[in-house]
């Protein structure tokens, strides 16, 4: 299985302003194999989210994207919006960090889960869509799905909302799931459940996964390939095991040293003089 699903070259995202191009993602290269799991790690503001949004073609207003993003052989950066839309939700799905604000408070979760399906598959009746939503909710193990399908987001707990977000991507069986910090807002126990769920779905559907997080321990458990970012730059990338056992870049090493361990090593955590120290 060396079939490349996503092939990113020279991806650059900038917010040009009076002072210059103001690049927040700088010439990023990485690949994701079909069914593979890629982790993108880095500190806050290092450009992780912008990378994922660039792939989705959902960059905020004012952002400029250059470089190439090839998905399943098709160049996404050239696609007109209309064509790009047929990828989104259908073949590439995204799960966002904050599940409450990412769900529309005005509609039931059922409606929102089925929405993507209805818009990508024509001729789906309301009833069918509902059934699909219930099935998706059952798959992410939301109990009593038949009833809860008619509830509103605010009636769910944080963990369940995140499950709803995942359920939303499921109905379409996407080939690529991008999860942008899907567990940051959650408790460890809930985080563990969500991560398990993602792993399970991947093994069920064979979908590729890009997991974005700043938690190295999380990526170490989930992904097989790693991209380390800092200030929009690609610091280092490679197979997870290699990076965890033999990090090449000093920044990666520092990062790994700074992670508090639960199992081992008690002592002063190693830190790099970061940009902030220099200020």
């Amino acid at each position: 299985m060396t079939d490349t699903l996503l092939h990113v070259r020279g991806l650059t995202v900038g917010f040009p302003n009076a002072h210059g191009p103001n690049e927040v993602v700088k010439s990023l290269d990485f690949d994701l194999e079909r069914g593979g799991a890629l982790g993108i790690v880095g500190e806050s503001g290092s450009g992780k989210s912008m990378t994922s949004l660039a792939i989705m073609g959902l960059l905020p207003k004012g952002a400029k994207r250059t470089g190439s993003i090839e998905f399943d052989g098709a160049e996404l950066t050239d696609l007109p919006e209309r064509a790009m839309r047929s990828y989104r939700g259908d073949r590439i799905a995204m799960i966002f960090q904050d599940p409450l604000s990412s769900l529309n408070p005005y509609y039931t979760v059922g409606t929102q889960i089925a929405e993507a399906y209805r818009s990508h598959r024509s001729g789906v009746t309301r009833r069918q869509a509902r059934t699909i939503a219930i099935e998706a909710m059952e798959r992410v193990r939301i109990g009593d799905a038949a009833k809860r399908v008619d509830h509103y987001p605010h009636q769910f707990s944080g963990g369940m909302r995140q499950r709803v977000m995942i359920a939303m991507t499921l109905s379409m069986e996407p080939e690529l799931i991008i999860a942008d910090e899907p567990t940051t807002a959650l408790d460890v126990t809930v985080q563990a459940q969500i991560l398990d769920l993602l792993a399970e779905i991947r093994s069920d559907t064979g979908a590729g996964l890009i997991l974005i997080t700043h938690d190295l321990a999380v990526v170490s458990e989930v992904t097989d390939h790693l991209v380390v970012m800092r200030d929009g730059d690609l610091v280092e990338q490679g197979p997870a095991e290699r990076i965890f056992t033999d990090p090449q870049a000093p920044y990666t090493r520092m990062l790994l040293d700074a992670v508090p361990r639960i199992d081992d090593e008690i002592g002063l955590l190693r830190t790099l003089p970061t940009t902030e120290e220099a200020r």
Binding site: V188, F244, L255
Partner: protein
């Protein structure tokens, strides 16, 4: 430039003979939750349910538990920011749970807090100087050596540039801002610092800096921490003793190694199991590789 590499050191196991600084017994806090409106029946919600704990001099007691388990409420009870429903708090041998008004000032200068969100906990409209001297100002105590010098000294102690005393919080990074919060806590030379999720909002590298700072200060000045966190890995790094909260109660308490090594309560076990971890063999391999590299780069070491 690879940055400083601090030799690993073992934290000495605490001596159980250490003196007790704070003792909270049977704390209960009930909140009235109204049913809304005029007709709504109001009920009582027990956020803290019969919690007893003690913090000894020079040690760190960590309070862990999932969101909503009552950690912050316990901290605020102990800091006397909210009144207790019942229970007693003894600090340095004095009963403090009934103090009010001015009488509280003495206590306030011995117990300080550091908060989760560095920006939210600093008034954006005040300069650093004003922020760090605020506890003295509020307690109407003279500022030794003048505000500028005092603030400068404090800032230096937490590793900030004293020249930045007239800046506003927004002009600092998260880690620096959190240091300002710590400096403020140090202003009154407290005996106990309550750190409520003081590092949870920070990136790992910054988090590490702050943890290191807290540890250094403890080593240098010998004060005690009540350290609240939900990240067990962090807790393990800093705690002397650990108390696990769930549903408003402390379900398990004990020495760090005891709690992490052989958790007694089922909830603690569940919590520990859920913590994501980097495979220890990877870490071990990395350490070997690291060692090898260092030797390669600097054969003299």
């Amino acid at each position: 430039m690879t940055g400083e590499t601090v030799p690993r050191q073992t934290v000495p196991t605490e001596s159980s003979s250490a003196e007790t600084l704070l003792r909270a017994s049977n704390l209960v806090k009930e909140f009235t939750v109204s049913g809304g409106g005029l007709l709504g029946r109001s009920g009582k919600f027990r956020a803290v349910d019969d919690v007893s704990l003690e913090v000894r001099k020079g040690e760190t007691l960590a309070l862990v538990g999932e969101s909503g388990s009552g950690k912050s409420t316990t901290a605020r009870l102990i800091a006397r920011l909210i009144g207790t429903t019942s229970g007693t708090i003894e600090f340095d041998g004095r009963e403090v749970h009934a103090l009010t008004g001015k009488a509280l000032h003495g206590f306030r200068s011995e117990v300080q807090m550091v908060f989760q969100d560095p920006y939210s906990s600093l008034n954006p409209k005040h300069t650093v100087e004003r922020i760090v001297t605020a506890p003295l100002a509020y307690q109407r105590r003279p500022i030794p050596g003048g505000a500028r010098a005092f603030a400068g000294a404090l800032m230096e102690r937490v590793g900030l540039d004293p020249d930045h005393a007239t800046r506003f919080p927004a002009q600092f990074s998260g880690g620096q801002a959190q240091r300002i919060g710590i400096a403020r806590a140090l202003a009154v030379s407290p005996k106990l610092i309550i750190a409520d999720e003081a590092v949870s909002a920070l990136d790992v590298s910054v988090q590490a800096q702050v943890i290191n700072l807290l540890r250094r200060l403890q080593d240098e000045e010998g004060f005690s921490y009540l350290f609240i966190a939900h990240d067990l890995a962090v807790v393990r790094q800093i705690a002397t003793r650990v108390a696990v909260m769930n549903g408003g109660r402390i379900v398990e308490a004990g020495d760090r190694d005891a709690v992490f090594g052989s958790p007694q309560h089922e909830y603690t076990r569940k919590l520990l199991a859920a913590v994501p971890r980097i495979r220890p063999e990877w870490d071990a391999a990395r350490r070997r590789n690291d060692q090898a590299r260092r030797e390669r780069e600097d054969p003299g070491a």
